[in-house]
């Protein structure tokens, strides 16, 4: 369809065209997603090779000062009027070496075995009583070893940058240009390189407190860190892919594999229902509140929104109490002459429906807040043409409002879908995973999601490696899903539209 044809369409046709286009592009996006990942790694490799190439040639071409910078970092810059820069490079080198000597090497040294010396007790000669002799702690070796590796990678990058800077400084002196002074260079960070200023602190924090622990956790999946191998009393070591094999292996009776598949199924069902029930109900309520003829709009909105302000764990513990067999809901049912319902401990279905409904109580107010503004922005002519065609409000909702909203708020939907897959609080505080009615589930109940199972595995049965493996699998699914949808959504592709 050409642009002119597109322009000639009515607004409702335009919308439906866009929506169709959106979904027809989906499979292609999947393909290009994996292509993009491949490209990412290819580029990374090329960059690395490029860096190495330049590294050698700069050394041979450079003069003495540049060559010396290969050992004493920053020397080249220092001798060419860039004192501040030179000192910074040198400081980085000294810091890194003293880190290695004082801390890093000792841990990295045992990274291959994760420790060999067992903590044990000996009899103290003076008292005749036992005392403890500390051995290796596999967990600390893994953690601090990982830290050392990551720091080394960062250092290598800085080091390469150092050789490059030395060479460039030499070239510009040769060309008769004046190198930037420290002040000028710093000023550049407020303008041309402002992104570095803005991103460096957050990136540093995220690297240390998010990425490093994450890498640590991923590595645990490849070890035998379980209840038989808990540090500091015991050692654990690398076992390769054994843990993943366990997670996928389905055997007769209770097994991790069976539990994994059962919980995966329920997690997906839960995420779909939890996301869309909140979304649709929230939107309908928002529409009702914002109908022109309805009065006391802010009162209605406040009624719903006030639940957001109560900390979530409080409202969930509260709900748990209210829905107990002898809780207030059943008391009221008793007044009305109805039999009590066991919301959390009768059948899996009842418990699952209950958690989905309670999740609506928790989540709908967010949808109301989120969608109110957008609902107001739906072009009125869409509805008008529908009304002329004689569509009822219900039809209008499903043919115009809902598709329009889904189309426009895809990133939000994906976010809440992923959020629901990882929705620990609702399940943990509401049912604790129960009801426990399936004797084939390994350390799990029937409303357990993968995340709550993961938590039980670490807290109750200390199967850290299984938990890590499950965590990785969950992550892969969530990440793929959100990257694809985010990158194909309108907001990402047309970033510049508003400029």
């Amino acid at each position: 369809m050409t642009f002119i044809e597109y322009q000639a369409l009515t607004p409702s046709q335009k919308a439906s065209y866009k929506i169709k286009e959106f979904f027809s592009l989906l499979p292609g996006r999947f393909k290009s997603f994996f292509a993009a990942i491949g490209k990412f790694f290819k580029n990374l490799g090329l960059k690395f090779v490029g860096g190495c190439k330049g590294y050698g040639s700069r050394f041979t071409k450079g003069d003495f000062a540049t060559k010396l910078s290969y050992i004493v970092m920053g020397f080249g810059n220092f001798t060419r009027g860039q004192v501040g820069k030179g000192i910074a490079f040198l400081a980085a080198e000294i810091l890194y070496i003293s880190y290695l000597a004082g801390f890093g090497l000792k841990w990295f040294d045992k990274f291959d075995t994760l420790g060999t010396e067992l903590t044990h007790q000996v009899i103290d000669e003076v008292t005749g009583r036992p005392k403890s002799v500390m051995g290796d702690n596999s967990m600390l070796i893994l953690l601090y070893g990982t830290l050392t590796i990551l720091l080394t990678l960062v250092f290598i990058a800085v080091y390469i940058a150092n050789t490059k800077a030395a060479y460039e400084a030499e070239q510009s002196v040769k060309a008769g240009k004046k190198n930037l002074t420290l002040k000028e260079e710093l000023q550049e960070f407020l303008d041309g390189k402002y992104h570095v200023t803005m991103l460096s602190l957050p990136v540093l924090l995220i690297s240390v407190f998010t990425i490093l622990p994450l890498v640590f956790m991923i590595l645990i999946a490849f070890t035998n860190y379980d209840k038989q191998h808990t540090p500091p009393g015991q050692l654990f070591t690398w076992v390769g892919l054994d843990t993943f094999r366990d997670v996928f292996k389905v055997t007769e009776g209770a097994s991790k594999g069976y539990t994994f598949w059962e919980l995966t199924k329920w997690t997906v069902v839960w995420a779909i229902f939890a996301t869309f029930s909140n979304y649709i109900i929230g939107m309908i309520i928002a529409l009702m509140i914002n109908k022109k003829s309805i009065k006391f709009k802010s009162l209605w909105r406040t009624l719903f929104v006030i639940t957001i302000a109560v900390p979530q764990f409080v409202s969930l513990l509260l709900m748990n109490q209210i829905l107990q067999d002898d809780g207030v809901v059943n008391v009221i049912r008793g007044y009305m002459g109805l039999a009590p319902i066991s919301f959390f401990n009768s059948t899996a279905l009842v418990a699952r429906v209950t958690v989905i409904i309670i999740n609506m109580w928790v989540g709908v107010p967010y949808t109301i807040l989120q969608t109110t503004g957008i609902l107001m922005n739906i072009p009125e002519d869409l509805y008008e043409s529908a009304r002329i065609d004689g569509a009822t409000p219900v039809v209008q909702f499903f043919q115009i409002t809902l598709p329009y909203m889904i189309f426009v708020t895809t990133p939000y939907l994906i976010q809440s879908f992923v959020g629901n897959i990882n929705n620990f609080n609702v399940i943990y505080l509401l049912t604790g995973g129960g009801p426990n009615k399936n004797p084939n589930l390994y350390q799990a109940g029937e409303t357990d999601l993968l995340v709550t199972w993961l938590f039980k595995l670490t807290m109750n049965s200390n199967d850290y490696n299984t938990a890590a493996a499950v965590g990785i699998l969950v992550f892969i699914v969530c990440a793929t899903l959100s990257l694809i949808t985010f990158n194909m959504s309108k907001s990402s592709r047309n970033e510049e539209e508003f400029s």
């Binding site: 403890s132 808990t230 991790k256 426990n436 009615k437 004797p439 350390q443 109940g445 807290m459 200390n462």
Partner: protein, 435 residues
């Protein structure tokens, strides 16, 4: 006679504790000779290897909130006793029941030197290398003075790792005397009938392996340590028919009284007593004082009743736990810590706790004393230990499958035949042994 002197001493000490709160107790013991006289009951006290650690020794002790005050008093006394050898400062820090295990597993180096814990976490703690072994004379001391079950509970792989503190970490029948008579409390049928007659509920937490194991244990399916690998739960040989018929007997009986049977949290027992809706329930010893508070003189305690299996009244068997005191293996002062742990678990301290906190003793002499015999709650729970499987070497995988079993057994909406029951028992055992 002893009691009086003790009481006065305790009052004096508690005043001192209040004044000084966290400050060092070493400072209060100025003259050693007179002090040893005052706490004369430990006159012949002579710590082992006392020359190993001297100077100012700082210790941290973890104990549950309820026991803070008595723990402080006892630590104070210990400091006085030891003041001849060293100046000891003890910091008593409150800790919940399950916290020591999880915290020591996270980081043993910040843990207390001496800490109380429930015996179900001893495997975790020993596995993580967090407990100092009890050897030599200390071992003899523990074995000699404590009831067999409690010593067993402190044992892992034939080695003792802790000092028994209480002998009551379990549950038994708690009832309202105005609903259930003493005679009716002897059989489960009688209890349920009595409750039904007055339309009162009977509460049991079947959805929890700690209580649900009754169904299996009564039928002879009991646990027996670990297999060779040290983690897989071993079950004692059992007869499947007996097991099935016992579990079915529980189900049929509860099902017959299903309008008054409540499968709910143990807190519902005392709540129900308060509101007058519950007639009897199976409740833990830690809630006994609340039950007494709620029912007053009508509070009744008894060992778990019998249940009629195929015409024979069968005694219900439960799981019986102990509280232990352990010494952190990474303590800076292992020797003094061991002394303190021994002190805190000695006869006097156990007696104190029985009086002040209503905690049942693990010490043989205290358990046999009239003090315990005259207390219905404590004597019932100690009596219960005779009809029980000690909570020793229980796999961490035990609880969830057994909870599931209990939950299915009392789910009266579903059909449940003998065959289903057999199947369930088999699956449960397999699940416990999985992983």
């Amino acid at each position: 006679m002893f009691g009086k002197a003790k009481k006065i001493c305790a009052v004096l000490l508690s005043v001192a504790v209040f004044v000084m709160a966290f400050t060092a107790c070493g400072e209060s013991s100025d003259s050693t000779s007179s002090n040893t006289g005052e706490v004369g009951n430990y006159g012949n006290y002579s710590p082992l290897g006392r020359e190993a650690e001297n100077g100012t020794i700082k210790l941290k002790v973890w104990g549950p909130d309820a026991a803070q005050e008595s723990l402080r008093e006892q630590c104070e006394e210990f400091c006085k006793l030891m003041s001849a050898y060293a100046t000891i400062k003890i910091d008593v820090v409150p800790q919940g029941e399950e916290d020591p295990a999880s915290q020591l597993l996270t980081d043993p180096t910040v843990g207390a030197d001496v800490f109380g814990f429930a015996c179900d976490s001893i495997d975790k703690l020993v596995n993580a290398g967090a407990l100092l072994e009890v050897t030599g004379a200390d071992k003899d001391y523990v074995v000699e003075n404590n009831v067999e079950g409690s010593v067993l509970a402190a044992t892992v792989d034939d080695k003792i790792y802790a000092y028994p503190e209480t002998g009551d970490n379990s549950y038994c029948l708690v009832y309202d005397k105005s609903v259930v008579s003493e005679n009716q409390a002897k059989t489960l049928e009688g209890v349920l009938e009595a409750c039904k007659a007055q339309n009162k509920k009977f509460v049991m937490e079947a959805n929890n392996g700690y209580y649900a194991c009754m169904f299996l244990f009564t039928g002879g399916v009991t646990i027996d340590g670990y297999e060779e690998d040290g983690t897989t739960q071993k079950f004692a040989p059992y007869n499947m028919d007996t097991a099935t018929s016992t579990v079915m007997a529980f189900r049929e009986l509860f099902s017959k009284y299903k309008d008054i049977f409540v499968n709910g949290e143990v807190t519902k027992v005392v709540d129900g007593f308060k509101s007058g809706t519950v007639g009897a329930g199976i409740d833990g010893s830690w809630n006994f004082s609340y039950a007494k508070e709620a029912l007053g003189t009508n509070a009744g305690f008894a060992v778990l009743p019998t249940i009629n299996v195929n015409g024979t009244p069968t005694q219900i068997v439960n799981m019986f736990g102990y509280k232990l005191i352990g010494v952190n293996s990474s303590s800076k002062y292992p020797n003094t810590s061991i002394e303190l742990a021994k002190f805190l678990t000695n006869e006097e301290c156990q007696k104190d706790r029985a009086v002040d906190l209503n905690w049942g003793p693990s010490n043989k002499n205290v358990a046999e004393s009239t003090l315990i015999k005259s207390d219905a709650a404590l004597s019932s729970i100690l009596e219960q230990s005779k009809n029980s499987v000690p909570q020793v070497a229980v796999s961490q995988n035990f609880w969830q499958p057994v909870a599931t079993l209990g939950n299915i057994v009392v789910d009266f909406d579903n059909e449940f035949t003998d065959k289903d029951c057999q199947e369930l028992i088999k699956k449960t055992i397999a699940n416990v042994r999985e992983g």
